[in-house]
C-alpha cells in the first residue's frame, strides 16, 4: 500500500519521459522512505536502460520488487501508471469534445511546430550522451537511412542493430576470458 501511494505520487508529479522520474524516485525511496540506497538507484537506472520497456515502468517494478517482492512490484507499477491513465482518459475526451473548434485547431497548428523543436532538443540531448566511436556512428547513420530513406520496419532495424552490437563487442573482447558469459 505504501509502495502504491509513493509511486502514485511519483507518477503524478513526473512530467516528460522516464529520466525525469529518476530524481523523484531517488528522493521518495532513498531519502524519505529509506527503502533502498543511493547505489541501488544507479544500478536500477543501468538495468532500466538495458531492458526493454519504458524506463519509468522498469524502475518502478524493480524498486517494488526489491522492497516487497512480486506484489510490491505490482503495486509500484500500478501506482506509477494510474495517474497518467486517469488524466489522459479525461483529456482525450475533452479534446474530442473541443477538437472541432477553430481556435483549438489553430493552437495545435502552432503547437506542432513547437513540438518539433522539443523533439530536436530531446534528440540532441540523447546524442550528446551517446558513445562517439566509429561503429556507433555507423549504426546510428545506417539505422536513420534504413527507416528514413528505405522505409524498413523499425523492429527489424532494432533487431539487426542489437546483433551487430553483440558481434562487434564479442570480436573486440575475444582476447579476454569470458568467464561470465553464462
Amino acid at each position: 500500500m505504501k509502495l502504491f501511494l509513493t509511486f502514485f505520487k511519483i507518477g503524478a508529479f513526473t512530467f516528460g519521459g522516464g529520466y525525469a522520474m529518476i530524481p523523484l524516485i531517488q528522493r521518495e525511496t532513498v531519502e524519505t522512505r529509506k527503502w533502498i540506497s543511493d547505489e541501488d538507484i544507479l544500478e536500477i537506472v543501468a538495468i532500466a536502460e538495458s531492458t526493454p520497456g519504458p524506463i519509468a515502468i522498469n524502475s518502478a517494478t524493480f524498486v517494488g520488487y526489491k522492497v516487497a517482492g512480486v506484489l510490491g512490484a505490482a503495486c509500484a507499477t500500478f501506482g506509477t501508471v494510474l495517474p497518467a491513465f486517469v488524466i489522459i482518459m479525461i483529456i482525450s475526451s475533452i479534446l474530442r469534445e473541443f477538437g472541432d473548434i477553430k481556435a483549438v485547431q489553430y493552437a495545435f497548428d502552432g503547437i506542432r511546430a513547437g513540438v518539433l523543436a522539443l523533439l530536436v532538443k530531446a534528440w540532441w540531448n540523447m546524442y550528446k550522451k551517446s558513445p562517439k566511436d566509429s561503429i556507433s556512428y555507423a549504426i546510428a547513420i545506417l539505422s536513420f537511412v534504413a527507416v528514413c530513406v528505405f522505409d524498413i520496419n523499425v523492429l527489424y532495424v532494432i533487431i539487426v542493430c542489437a546483433i551487430t552490437g553483440l558481434c562487434s563487442s564479442l570480436i573486440k573482447g575475444k582476447g579476454r576470458k569470458e568467464s561470465e558469459s553464462k
Binding site: I57, I88, L118, K121, C161
Partner: protein, 187 residues
C-alpha cells in the same frame, strides 16, 4: 474482444522493443500505429504536446491516448497493460539474476548496438514529424505558397532556440499555441 487483443498485442510489441527512456518509443509507435491507420501523424504530434504537459511517463500517456481513441476505456486499458507487461515480466526476471545480468557480455554487447540505433531511429522520427509540420501532404510547389509554412518555420526556429536555452517544455507549448491561434485568425 478481438480489437482489444490486437491493441494489447501491438502495445506489447512496442513495449518489448523500446530501449531507453522518453522518446525512444516514438519510432515504434509511428511504425505500428501510423501504418495501421489508427491515428494520423498530426494527431500523434498534437498528443506529444499533451503528453509533455501532463504528468506521467510518455509511454503510458501515449498508450492510454491511442488505446482510448481506438476502443474507449477498454482500449486504453488494453494498450496500457500491453506496454507495461513486457517491462514487468523482464524486470522480475532480471531482479533475480541481477548480479549476473549486470556483467553479462551478451546484454552489454546488444546495448552497444541499440544505443546508437535509438539515436538514428529518433532522428528518423523527427524527420517524419517535420514532414507533417511543413509539408502536410501538399505538392512541392504549394508548400512555399502557404503562409502557414512560414509561420510554422518561424515558430520552429524560435522554439528551438528557447528549448536549447532550457526553457520549460510547457512554456514552449503555450507560446506556440498562442502564436498559432493569433496567426490562424489573422490569415
Amino acid at each position: 474482444m478481438t480489437i482489444y487483443l490486437i491493441i494489447f498485442l501491438t502495445f506489447f510489441k512496442i513495449g518489448l522493443f523500446t530501449f531507453g527512456g522518453g522518446y525512444a518509443m516514438l519510432p515504434l509507435i509511428q511504425e505500428e500505429v501510423l501504418t495501421r491507420g489508427w491515428v494520423e501523424n498530426a494527431d500523434l504530434i498534437n498528443f506529444i504536446a499533451v503528453s509533455e504537459s501532463t504528468p506521467g511517463p510518455f509511454a503510458i500517456n501515449m498508450a492510454t491516448y491511442i488505446g482510448n481513441t481506438m476502443g474507449g476505456f477498454l482500449g486504453a486499458l488494453s494498450a496500457t497493460l500491453g506496454v507495461v507487461t513486457p517491462s514487468f515480466v523482464v524486470i522480475l526476471f532480471v531482479a533475480n539474476v541481477f548480479e549476473k545480468f549486470k556483467t553479462n557480455k551478451i546484454v552489454s554487447g546488444c546495448m552497444t548496438g541499440l544505443k546508437p540505433a535509438v539515436i538514428g531511429l529518433i532522428g528518423a522520427a523527427v524527420i517524419s514529424v517535420a514532414e507533417t509540420v511543413f509539408v502536410a501532404g501538399k505538392e512541392y510547389g504549394a508548400i512555399f505558397a502557404d503562409a502557414r509554412f512560414y509561420i510554422s518555420a518561424a515558430i520552429f526556429a524560435v522554439m528551438t532556440v528557447l528549448a536549447f536555452k532550457k526553457v520549460h517544455p510547457i512554456v514552449i507549448i503555450i507560446i506556440s499555441a498562442v502564436i498559432g491561434i493569433v496567426s490562424g485568425y489573422l490569415i
